[in-house]
Symmetry: C2
Subunit: 193 residues, 2 copies
DNA sequence: CGTCTATTTGAATGTACTCAAAAGCGGTGG
DNA sequence: CCACCGCTTTTGAGTACATTCAAATAGACG
């Protein structure tokens, strides 16, 4: 997507005036990322809220055994970032890296708060954004606690056909909470039947 | 908790005027629930957003095999409800029942929207409420995809010591996505060591 | 005290994991 | 254009974690 499309989309979803929109783009910082480049690393201070214009970003962390766990994949017109680090003022628990060449806008906590305070349209937009994200997260939790690995995979493909093509299998496996080896075996089994 | 305490807490968290608060309590419907009584059943229409004044409510659903899956436990001063059903206007996917005698306030979608539109303090409050809920949900997802059953249980006890005492084990097991039998075996093992 | 439900226990089973090795694939340089 | 390198995916054998089913025990409540 191009800046104009992002702007248009944002304007519509948040019901913004042109002045609101200008203000927003004055506050954010634009950044391009190459494939595999990190936007944020675990432990970074002062991390920002991220609006993705194009490409694909993965949020993840590594456990004690250095195993990667994918928390979220974000594509164009998605917000991402470690909300806990941003709003509760501590260093980032997660890393964010580009799985494809990407373009993003960064919004600091201060500007985010300022935006909400001065522009009710943004407050309402973010309220609805978080509300919808919450619904999605709840559905993911339900899949986590009640689906088998096979069901989780089939659901993932159904919900995210584009990501299925773009994201390395090992990250999809880790997103679902299974090992890449087991996902490979699952796919073979599904292809046979 | 009593109504006055809930009111005080809400007033403080949402930074409300007394007028805002009065308006809120004029809009909501009060309801008492006995232990094991259902507030909402799967398939109910026109479900409401729920503020818990006292007691404990469980949100859950049953899968094809009639197995119960606990999605959430709510205690006093918590909001609960099937957000997807409320905001996307369809029948409830989940049931909500009282695990202890409870008192709640019900807010309809219309009144919720109205509250947000007319009272910016509520919009801001719900934005922050959803924001924090999102952070919690993300942490739960991380536990789901990266913790063993034992780690999940120890974390549950740490995060929710009161629920550990109040909620039947089988529901705690289902909240974590394991069987009650296995949780029982886990506890035995932990008690031995 | 009796009934109903929740929890525990055990044996057998299945799902998913670990580890190690082979195969596949994409990019880079000769 | 091919050969090589590094990384991802596949495969297989052995194992561990968690489930199922059935039965026994324990607890809660009228």
């Amino acid at each position: 997507m191009k800046k104009e499309e992002i702007a248009e989309d944002l304007k519509e979803k948040a019901d913004l005036t042109s002045a609101d929109l200008d203000y927003f783009f004055k506050k954010v910082e634009f950044k391009s990322l190459q494939k595999n480049e990190h936007l944020i690393r675990t432990g970074d201070q002062n991390v920002h809220f991220v609006l993705i214009q194009s490409g694909c970003l993965m949020t993840y962390f590594k456990d004690q055994n250095e195993h990667v766990h994918a928390i979220q994949f974000g594509q164009e017109m998605w917000w991402t970032g470690d909300l806990d680090a941003i709003f509760n003022q501590h260093q980032s628990n997660y890393a964010i890296k580009a799985l494809a060449p990407s373009e993003v806008y960064l919004l600091s906590k201060e500007d985010f708060e300022d935006l909400n305070k001065k522009h009710p349209a943004f407050e309402s937009y973010f309220r609805r954004l978080f509300q919808n994200a919450l619904i999605s997260h709840q559905k993911r939790i339900i899949r986590n606690i009640s689906f088998s690995a096979e069901e989780k995979y089939l659901e993932f493909v159904k919900l995210h056909p584009r990501l299925e093509l773009l994201v390395p299998q090992k990250y999809i496996a880790s997103y679902m909470g299974i090992t890449p080896e087991f996902l490979s075996k699952l796919k073979r089994k599904l292809a046979q039947s």
